[in-house]
């Protein structure tokens, strides 16, 4: 079972990377980019086959390691 953990900075936390990308896109001539947020994605291949349990364990991993919950929030999505 694959679990995809998406980690983003919490709202309101400064995102220097997103700001820089936004700026670079504008410089490259892309218009209409109103906001950019940058985050991390971690794809986990789990031995677990039960979706419920796979999700629970991915969430636990995110809480304990993958996300820094002081400044980041995460979502977990299951795939294939």
């Amino acid at each position: 079972m694959k679990a995809i953990v998406r980690v983003m900075l919490k709202n309101g936390v400064l995102d220097p990377q997103g700001k820089a990308i936004e700026h670079a896109l504008a410089t490259l001539g892309f218009q209409g980019v109103e906001d950019v947020r940058a985050g991390k994605i971690i794809e986990l291949s789990l031995a677990e086959t039960d979706p419920e349990r796979a999700r629970a364990s991915a969430e636990e991993m995110a809480r304990r390691l993958l996300a820094n919950t002081v400044i980041e929030s995460f979502t977990v999505e299951l795939a294939g």
Binding site: P16, Q17, A20, I21, H23, A24, T27, L28, A38
Partner: protein
């Protein structure tokens, strides 16, 4: 030698580079703002180290798309000499002027320490003042110096003799232990096909004065100065 140093926002080793170039050639390099496009009259364009645009997204990614890089590309296409060190090397690969990419160090940590480099060929404008297979010391200071290219590209680089410098032990042995950042085939520096564009990860410009612990990096700048000496004398 008329050298120009490109200043991208966030670059921080432009002063170090200017010191090394001035010491070798006697002439102060011109500082070129990243939005300029005029490289006329230059013998050498240098992309120095630092964190251009914060190195956010990918190291060198945003700098590679700056206006000055179009000029650098033309300059190189016309046979101009270009030296990219550290962030400069990353920018050259991002701009497609050199093949491959520089990934995060295998240790996932910033590495700031002296390393040893083995000179793979000496018949270039950059390395002419070293002995073949000489080993010299250079400080490195990077988080993303792990050179990567696919196998075909690596074979081509090797086949055409475009690998300029490799991480080595002090005795010249090419070992995994010497390869702190995890680069493929211990590659620390590569040339373009015409040998006029060099990308190099460590910082020879920070070791050009005995006061700072040695002059191991000085031959690179001396060689460049010598390459362009006749012209600058005429000028």
């Amino acid at each position: 030698m008329k050298a120009g140093i490109v200043v991208f926002p966030g670059i921080n080793r432009e002063r170090d580079m200017a010191i090394a170039l001035t010491a070798a050639s006697g002439a102060r390099p011109r500082m070129i703002w990243h939005q300029e496009r005029d490289l006329a009259g230059l013998d050498l364009v240098v992309l120095p180290g630092g964190f251009s645009h914060g190195d956010y997204l990918r190291c060198g990614a945003m700098a590679a798309r700056a206006p000055v890089m179009e000029a650098v590309r033309d300059f190189a296409a016309r046979g101009g000499y270009v030296l990219g060190v550290c962030n400069g090397f990353q920018i050259l690969t991002e701009a497609g002027l050199l093949p491959g990419a520089l990934l995060r160090n295998a240790s996932l940590r910033f590495l700031s320490m002296d390393c040893h480099l083995r000179v793979e060929r000496t018949d270039t404008a950059f390395a002419g003042h070293y002995q073949k297979h000489a080993v010299f010391r250079a400080p490195m200071a990077h988080g993303d110096g792990n050179y990567f290219a696919d196998a075909a590209t690596l074979d081509r680089l090797e086949g055409e003799g475009l690998v300029g410098f490799r991480y080595a032990m002090p005795d010249g042995a090419i070992t995994p232990e010497a390869n702190r950042n995890g680069s493929q085939r211990n590659i620390a520096g590569i040339y373009s096909a015409n040998l006029r564009v060099l990308g190099l990860m460590p910082h020879p410009e920070d070791l050009v004065d005995p006061l700072m612990g040695g002059t191991d990096g000085k031959p690179i700048f001396d060689a460049l100065a010598a390459t362009f000496a006749p012209r600058s004398r005429a000028a």
